[in-house]
Symmetry: C2
Subunit: 270 residues, 2 copies
Amino acid sequence: MKVAIQGERGAFSHQAALKLLPKATVLACSRSIEVFDALDSGRAGAAVIPVENTLAGPVGEHLDLMLERDVFIHGEVRLRIEHNLIAAPGVKLKDIKQVLSHPVALDQCRNFFRSHKNLSPIPFYDTAGAVKHVMAQELSDVAGIASVQAAKEYGGNILMKGLEDNKQNVTRFFLILKKRKIAADANKTSLVFSLKNVAGALFKALSVFALRDLDLSKIESRPVRGRPWEYCFFVDVLRGDDQAMLLALRHLEELAGFVKVLGVYKQAAE
Amino acid sequence: MKVAIQGERGAFSHQAALKLLPKATVLACSRSIEVFDALDSGRAGAAVIPVENTLAGPVGEHLDLMLERDVFIHGEVRLRIEHNLIAAPGVKLKDIKQVLSHPVALDQCRNFFRSHKNLSPIPFYDTAGAVKHVMAQELSDVAGIASVQAAKEYGGNILMKGLEDNKQNVTRFFLILKKRKIAADANKTSLVFSLKNVAGALFKALSVFALRDLDLSKIESRPVRGRPWEYCFFVDVLRGDDQAMLLALRHLEELAGFVKVLGVYKQAAE
């Protein structure tokens, strides 16, 4: 199965894709919208996209695209984000002058740069792309910060592991397909709905779950595109495709502007 | 009054600070945490920070810092984010080969780069910093993408305006001070609370507002730092410091792990 990801081969999304589908072949896309286009055109049979990070919060662009496009969530996985200093084989730490990576990754390694003042952080378009660049240009005084997968992918050498300041750095990824299918062991439902901006609207909407003892594991308000300061709500419910959930959704449709079920899938292990 | 912002002088935060406090002197800080440190130490009397963008969603780091630090919101403002192509005076569009800016800004100008294929987008640490760099180095084939304020600040020449793909690009900023004070015309309350992860917890928490006809204008779940997949909730209520709000907060304290009022202030005009 060909799985589309945003970013270069060796990106954290690549690592997440292999956790979800160990035999996947990865289709690297430079932009998120191309990932969804690849699904639409059939160039990829599936996609793996980050939706939430414990430090940075939700990946809004991907939530918006799941709302707009005709896709369905088939699974989720959580990945510890570990940053590694990666250079060409033979290059030593003392040779390095510049370190390339995505600005967010550089920002997550502040303590490392504080204790290595001779190293200059240089923003680059992508974490794995930084390692690709270092290897392709055969740079001997430049390293990249990226995943273990990026070192494997481009033949880089890991000089240091665990550069991230906060070890509680976990990203949640969705496996999405065009096909709408619910596995027998599915126990979690992701959905999105919109509400009129009137007092008590969200309270009433949440009552459809509370009245049926359905537990929410997450709620996210998102601006509605093109309508500043109006919101829709992305909700995860710890329940699969059963009668209580169907009744709750039917009830929610009475109250909400629209309701879209984004997927019914098996919850990832913590 | 000295106002701390994150980013270089001429950043969008600088523009927002001048909208909130026209006579402010800006203290530019490279990191968000330094903005809060400047407030703590008294080096700045106030700070202006972005908290939400209509396209990108919440600025999680700033929500977290408002939760952790002893600060109070005194006002809010909304700023249309307009991206401009800025070069040294005398430099023409046809001279430009590279365009520097923050990766998020470059990403918001995709159509511009698609219709100007001879221009290479180059990621830089800051929007205004890009213009500062172009001017300081007297570059004649490089431009920056930044705010009108950045052009003013560094004497750059605006070659093109309105480069952003989406004109509905609005950022909401808070004015924060150490001092806890509520203006007479305050009509909006921002607060954060945590909940135990049990079914119906959020529904019960929102009942404290719904039962008193208090209208929420926004709700944001945020991961609790150091406790993956536990959440606290940032809520805006369209009500000032009156009896109904005090009773709602007292009621909320019965249900929540903690409640912190982040500020009571006058709502910005749409």
